[in-house]
C-alpha cells in the first residue's frame, strides 16, 4: 500500500522477569510472542483483548517504555532499541493512561499541558502557543487555569490528551482511557479522539473493553495470550461473535441482535454495527403507519413518572431521609433530599444516577456508615425480634468531618457519659453494617492481609466470632464467589484483577449480610469478567435469596439484571419502577445526564419508523422477541418478508406458527416463544439463502 507505515512491528516478543532481592531471576513470563503488525499513518486502530492478553505491554513497547526482548519495533522508521531516538519516539507517539489522576503532574491545567514541551526544550513562547492549541483541540481552553482535582474524569482525560497533543505527535496510544469514567465522560473522550483522528490526521491506537468505542475504528486488532489472533475492519471482526467470545470479548449489542435476527431468517445485510444501521435495515420491513406512535409519545410525557415506592415485604424502609451539608448557611447543600422508599426482600434493585447524584451517599446511609440529618431508616431483618430504627443524627455532620479528631478522641475531651452514649450508638450502627454489606467501588484496593483467607476472615472476626467460626464463614463466602480453593492461601496481591475483586466481595459476604450493596462491581473488568461476575451476583440473588442493591452506570447491565430501578438526581428520588417503565422515559433520563440502554434507543428509532411496542424492550433478548413478533404480524397482514419463490410448503408452516404466535398476545409475544416455529424458519432460510453464510455461524449467535 501507498500509505506511510508509522508503526512497523516485526517478530516482537517481550518477557517480564521477576527478580529476588539480590537481583537473580526467579521467573520469566512471556507476555508477547512473535507479534507482527504494521499500522499506517492516519488510521484509527482499536486493540481489543481480555485483561492480561498483553495489550498494555504492547502499547508500552510502541514508545519505548518497554524495550523488546526479541524482534524490533519501528516507529516512523526509528528503532525503539536505539537510545538516541528515544525522546523523538516518545514525542511522536504520545500516550494516555487509564487512571486520570495518576498522569497529571501539575496543579493547573495549562501547566500540565506544558509539561511535555518543557521536557523536550521547546522555547517559552512556542510552549504557550502549543498549549493553547492543544487545549483548543480537546475543547478545554476555558478550563486552562483550573485545578485538575476539580475536573470530572472525562475532562481530566481530555487534559491528558492535550498534554500529548502539545508535543505535536503523529500518533497517540490510549491505554484504556475510558475504563474509570462514567458514560458521559467516556463519550467526551471518544468524541475528542475521533476528532483528532479525522481532523488532524493523528494516528490513534485505542485499547478498550467497550465495544461501542471500537465500531468507529478503521481496524480492529484482537489479542489473546500475547498474540494477535484477529485483525481486520470492525464489520468483519464483529461478524464472528462466537470466536470473539472465546477470546473473552463482546460484540456491540446492535451487531449481536442483527446476527440473531439473521439466524431467525430476517434478511438483514452483513456488517451491521450500530443501532442506526440496524433501524434503517429493519425499517424496510415495518408498516409505515406513523400516526399511532405520536399519540403514545405524548401520553408518556404527560403521565407521572413511575413511583412504586411501597413493597409487600420490605427489608428496608427509608422515610424522608435527608442529608444536608452546612445547614442554615449560604453553603447549604443537599446530598440527599427527602427520600422515601422501600426495598423488597429478596429483590435485585438497581440504583442509577449520574456522577454526584447521591448514589454512593445513599448506599453509605443504608448501611450506617453515614446517618442522615433528617428522616429515618427502618430495617426488618429475618432474625431480628423487633425492627431496629435508625433515626437521624444531627451530630452526624460533625463526626463525619472530623474523623481525625474522633480517631484521636481522648476520654478527657468528652464527658464519660457522652462516651457511653456514643458507644451505644456505635453498636447499633455496627449491627446495621453487618446486616447490610457494602462493597465499594474497586473493592480490591482494601485487601491487606497476608493471604486471601485471612483477609476474608477480617469481617467475621470483627463481628466477634471465634477463629474456627470465622474461618468457616470465610470459606463459605469464598465458595459463593467461586474463587478456586487453590487461591485461598495465596497473597491477595498475586491474584488477577477479577480474582481480587471476588476475594474482596467475599470479604463482605463472609459477614452474612441480608442485603448486599454493590457499587459498580464490574468497573474495569473485561467483558467476560463482567458477565461472570454478574452471573455470580445473580446466583447470590436467586439461590441464596439475598436482597441486592446494585449501583451501576451501565444501563445495559441494569436492564438485563435488575427487577427494580431507583433513579436519583441531585439527591432526590425521581423514579422507582421496573427497568422497562424507567427506560421508556429516556428523555427525562437524558435530562438527568443519564441514558437508556442501547436497545431502548433502537426501539425508539423503530417506533419512529412505524413499529409499535407495548413496552420499549431494553435487552437484546426482549428486543429479538419483540421484533420477530412484529415482523410475524406484518408478515400476516401485508404478505410478510420477501420470501424465496420456491418454498410454499415452508412458508405455509411458518405462517401457521406466526398466526399462533400472533394469537397469544395482541402486541407482544410472551417470553419463551414457541421454539419450533423459529427453527422451521431457520432451517428453511439456511437452505434457501446465504444469510449468515454457514450453519456454524448461525449457531454462533445463539451461543450465549
Amino acid at each position: 500500500m501507498g500509505a506511510l507505515k508509522i508503526i512497523d512491528v516485526k517478530h516482537l516478543a517481550f518477557d517480564y522477569t521477576r527478580r529476588d532481592e539480590e537481583g537473580r531471576v526467579i521467573e520469566t513470563v512471556r507476555a508477547l510472542s512473535d507479534l507482527n503488525v504494521q499500522i499506517e499513518e492516519g488510521q484509527f486502530v482499536c486493540v481489543l483483548g481480555h485483561n492480561g492478553s498483553g495489550k498494555s505491554t504492547f502499547a508500552k513497547l510502541l514508545n519505548a517504555l518497554n524495550l523488546p526482548t526479541e524482534g524490533t519495533v519501528l516507529l516512523s522508521g526509528m528503532d525503539t532499541k536505539e537510545q538516541k531516538y528515544i525522546w523523538e519516539i516518545r514525542r511522536e507517539a504520545g500516550m494516555v493512561f487509564q487512571n486520570p489522576d495518576n498522569q497529571i503532574i501539575a496543579s493547573v491545567v495549562e501547566e500540565d499541558v506544558g509539561f511535555g514541551p518543557e521536557n523536550i526544550g521547546v522555547p517559552t513562547k512556542e510552549i504557550w502557543e502549543r498549549v493553547e492549541r492543544a487545549l483548543d483541540h480537546v475543547h478545554m481552553l476555558p478550563y486552562r487555569l483550573r485545578s485538575p482535582n476539580r475536573l470530572s474524569g472525562g475532562q481530566k482525560q481530555r487534559v491528558a490528551i492535550a498534554g500529548t497533543m502539545a508535543m505535536l505527535p503523529k500518533c497517540i496510544v490510549l491505554d484504556e482511557p475510558t475504563a474509570m469514567l462514567d458514560p458521559s465522560g467516556r463519550a467526551e473522550v471518544i468524541q475528542t479522539v475521533l476528532e483528532l483522528n479525522r481532523q488532524e490526521g493523528i494516528t490513534i491506537i485505542l485499547i478498550t473493553h467497550y465495544m461501542e468505542e471500537a465500531v468507529d475504528a478503521d481496524r480492529l486488532i484482537v489479542m489473546d495470550d500475547g498474540r494477535i489472533v484477529m485483525d481486520g475492519p470492525p464489520k468483519e471482526i464483529f461478524s464472528e461473535p462466537e470466536r470473539l467470545r472465546k477470546f473473552r470479548i463482546d460484540v456491540p449489542q446492535a451487531a449481536e441482535l442483527a446476527c440473531r435476527l439473521r439466524r431467525k431468517g430476517v434478511p438483514l445485510p452483513e456488517g451491521i454495527l450500530k443501532r442506526e444501521e440496524l433501524a434503517e435495515a429493519l425499517g424496510r420491513y415495518l408498516p409505515s403507519g406513523k400516526d399511532s406512535e405520536r399519540g403514545k409519545d405524548a401520553d408518556m410525557e404527560d403521565a407521572p413518572p413511575p413511583m412504586h415506592t411501597r413493597a409487600e415485604d420490605p427489608v428496608m424502609r427509608v422515610e424522608q431521609l435527608s442529608h444536608v451539608y452546612q445547614p442554615g448557611t449560604a453553603m447549604e447543600s443537599y446530598a440527599l433530599k427527602d427520600l422515601s422508599f422501600e426495598i423488597q426482600r429478596g429483590s435485585l434493585t438497581a440504583l442509577i444516577g449520574h456522577t454526584g447524584s447521591g448514589k454512593s451517599t445513599l448506599a453509605q446511609h443504608l448501611n450506617g456508615l453515614l446517618s442522615g440529618t433528617g428522616g429515618r431508616l427502618e430495617c426488618h431483618f429475618r432474625d431480628a425480634k423487633e425492627a431496629p430504627e435508625f433515626p437521624a443524627d444531627p451530630e452526624e455532620e460533625e463526626t463525619n468531618r472530623n474523623w481525625l479528631f474522633s480517631w484521636l478522641r481522648l476520654p478527657w475531651l468528652h464527658g464519660k457519659d457522652g462516651k457511653k452514649e456514643k458507644d451505644a450508638k456505635q453498636d447499633v450502627k455496627k449491627e446495621l453494617r453487618f446486616k447490610v454489606g457494602l462493597v465499594f467501588q474497586y473493592p480490591e484496593y482494601q485487601l491487606f492481609e497476608e493471604d486471601v483467607l485471612q483477609d476474608v476472615m477480617f469481617g467475621p472476626k470483627n463481628q466477634g466470632f471465634p477463629m474456627e467460626e470465622a474461618e468457616a464463614r470465610a470459606k463459605a463466602a469464598l465458595r459463593m464467589v467461586k474463587l478456586p480453593e487453590s487461591h485461598w492461601k495465596r497473597s491477595p496481591f498475586e491474584l488477577s484483577g477479577g480474582q481480587k475483586r471476588r476475594a474482596a466481595i467475599a470479604g463482605v459476604l463472609a459477614m452474612r449480610p441480608e442485603v448486599l450493596i454493590l457499587d459498580e462491581p464490574t468497573a474495569g473488568l473485561d467483558p467476560a469478567g463482567r458477565d461472570e461476575l454478574f452471573e455470580t451476583i445473580n446466583d447470590l440473588h436467586e439461590s441464596e435469596g439475598m436482597t441486592i442493591i446494585l449501583i451501576s452506570h451501565s444501563m445495559e447491565d441494569v436492564a438485563r439484571y435488575a427487577e427494580q430501578v431507583i433513579v436519583l438526581d441531585h439527591g432526590e428520588l425521581r423514579m422507582y419502577g421496573t427497568p422497562e417503565e424507567v427506560f421508556s422515559r429516556y428523555r427525562e433520563l437524558e435530562k438527568m445526564g443519564l441514558s437508556a440502554p442501547e436497545m431502548t434507543y433502537l426501539a425508539q428509532r423503530l417506533e419512529e419508523k412505524g413499529a409499535r411496542f407495548d413496552e420499549l424492550p431494553d435487552t437484546v433478548d426482549k428486543m429479538e422477541e419483540a421484533i420477530l413478533s412484529i415482523l410475524a404480524r406484518t408478515g400476516v397482514a401485508a404478505g410478510g418478508l420477501p420470501r424465496p419463490k420456491d418454498s410454499t410448503s415452508h412458508q405455509e408452516s411458518e405462517r401457521q406458527s406466526i398466526v399462533s404466535a400472533g394469537e397469544k398476545g395482541e402486541d407482544r409475544i410472551s417470553v419463551g416463544q414457541p421454539h419450533d416455529s423459529g427453527d422451521v424458519v431457520n432451517d428453511h432460510h439456511k437452505e434457501q439463502r446465504e444469510i449468515a453464510s454457514t450453519g456454524e455461524e448461525a449457531e454462533e449467535c445463539s451461543g450465549k
Binding site: 503532574i105 501539575a106 496543579s107 526544550g121 517559552t124 474523623w403 453494617r433 457494602l438 482494601q446 491487606f448
Partner: protein
C-alpha cells in the same frame, strides 16, 4: 469533603500577590517566619497580624479559605498551648489541686498560640497564591547555587511539587479505604489508643500499596512525556523579577526592620 486540606491547594484568582515571582514569595514567607521568632511582645504579634491581614486582603483569597488550614494543626496547637499553660513555673494565677496556671505560663501560652496560628496562616498564604509548579521553580532557582555541591536541586523540587499535588488525592483515598474497612466491621473509634493504633493497619497497608501504584503510574506517565531530569528543560513560565517584586523586597526589609524595632519598645 476532604478536599479541605489547604496546604498545597492553589486558590485561582488574579491578584498582586498571585503575580509576584515565587522567589519573592518564598523570601517573603521566610522573612515572615523569621519575624515571628524575632518579636517578643504582643505589639510585635499585632504588627505581624496586621501585615498578614493586609497581605491576605491583597491576595483576594477569602479569609474562610485561609483558616481551613488551621484545622489540621488544631491538635498541635492544643498540645503546645496546654503544655506551656500548665507547665511553666512562676507566679500562680489559678491553682486547683496539682494544676497550676501561672502568669508567665498564660503569657507564653498565648504568645505560642498566636505565633503558631500566624505561622500557619503565613505559609498557607504562600501555597494558596502559588501553584506547586511555581513553587518548585522558585525553590529550584533560589537554591541553584547548591547544585555545585552536587545537591540534586531539580529532583528535590520536582518531588516536592508532586507530593503537594497528591496530598489531597491520598487524603481522599484514606477516607475511602477507611469507610470500606468500617463496612467490614473495623472499628477505629473505640478502645485504648494502642488498640486504635493497631486498627490502623487495615488502612495503612492498602494506602501504601495504592501510593506505590500511583507513584509507578506517574513515573511512567512522566517518562512517556519525555521527562528526563532537569537537563535541557525549558520553562513555560520562566521566572523574571518585575517592578512589583522589587517593591515587595523593599516592603519586606521595612517590615523586618519594624519587627526588630518592636523588640525595643516596651508597653
Amino acid at each position: 469533603m476532604f478536599r479541605e486540606v489547604t496546604l498545597g491547594q492553589y486558590y485561582p484568582v488574579d491578584s498582586v500577590i498571585h503575580r509576584l515571582d515565587p522567589r519573592t514569595k518564598l523570601a517573603g514567607t521566610l522573612v515572615y517566619l523569621i519575624s515571628m521568632f524575632l518579636v517578643n511582645s504582643f505589639l510585635g504579634y499585632f504588627l505581624g497580624g496586621l501585615a498578614l491581614f493586609a497581605m491576605i486582603r491583597l491576595s483576594k483569597v477569602p479569609f474562610r479559605f485561609m483558616t481551613r488550614g488551621l484545622r489540621s494543626i488544631f491538635f498541635v496547637l492544643l498540645l503546645s498551648v496546654s503544655f506551656n499553660l500548665f507547665l511553666t513555673p512562676g507566679e500562680t494565677l489559678i491553682g486547683i489541686a496539682f494544676i497550676r496556671i501561672t502568669k508567665e505560663g498564660l503569657r507564653i501560652a498565648l504568645m505560642m498560640g498566636v505565633r503558631l496560628v500566624l505561622l500557619v496562616l503565613g505559609s498557607s498564604l504562600m501555597t494558596l497564591t502559588t501553584t506547586p509548579n511555581q513553587l518548585t521553580d522558585g525553590m529550584e532557582k533560589a537554591m541553584s547555587p547548591l547544585r555545585k555541591l552536587n545537591v540534586p536541586i531539580h529532583e528535590i523540587a520536582m518531588m516536592m511539587s508532586i507530593a503537594l499535588r497528591f496530598i489531597p488525592i491520598l487524603v481522599e483515598e484514606t477516607d475511602k479505604i477507611m469507610k470500606a474497612q468500617q463496612a467490614r466491621g473495623a472499628d477505629f473509634e473505640s478502645g485504648s489508643l494502642i488498640t486504635r493504633a493497631r486498627a490502623m493497619v487495615p488502612i495503612l497497608v492498602p494506602l501504601f500499596i495504592s501510593a506505590f501504584r500511583r507513584a509507578n503510574d506517574l513515573a511512567m506517565a512522566m517518562e512517556a512525556r519525555c521527562y528526563h531530569g532537569g537537563e535541557g528543560r525549558t520553562k513555560m513560565k520562566p521566572l523574571r523579577y518585575r517592578g512589583t517584586d522589587r517593591a515587595a523586597y523593599i516592603i519586606m526589609f521595612a517590615y523586618l526592620a519594624i519587627c526588630l524595632g518592636s523588640r525595643f519598645v516596651r508597653l
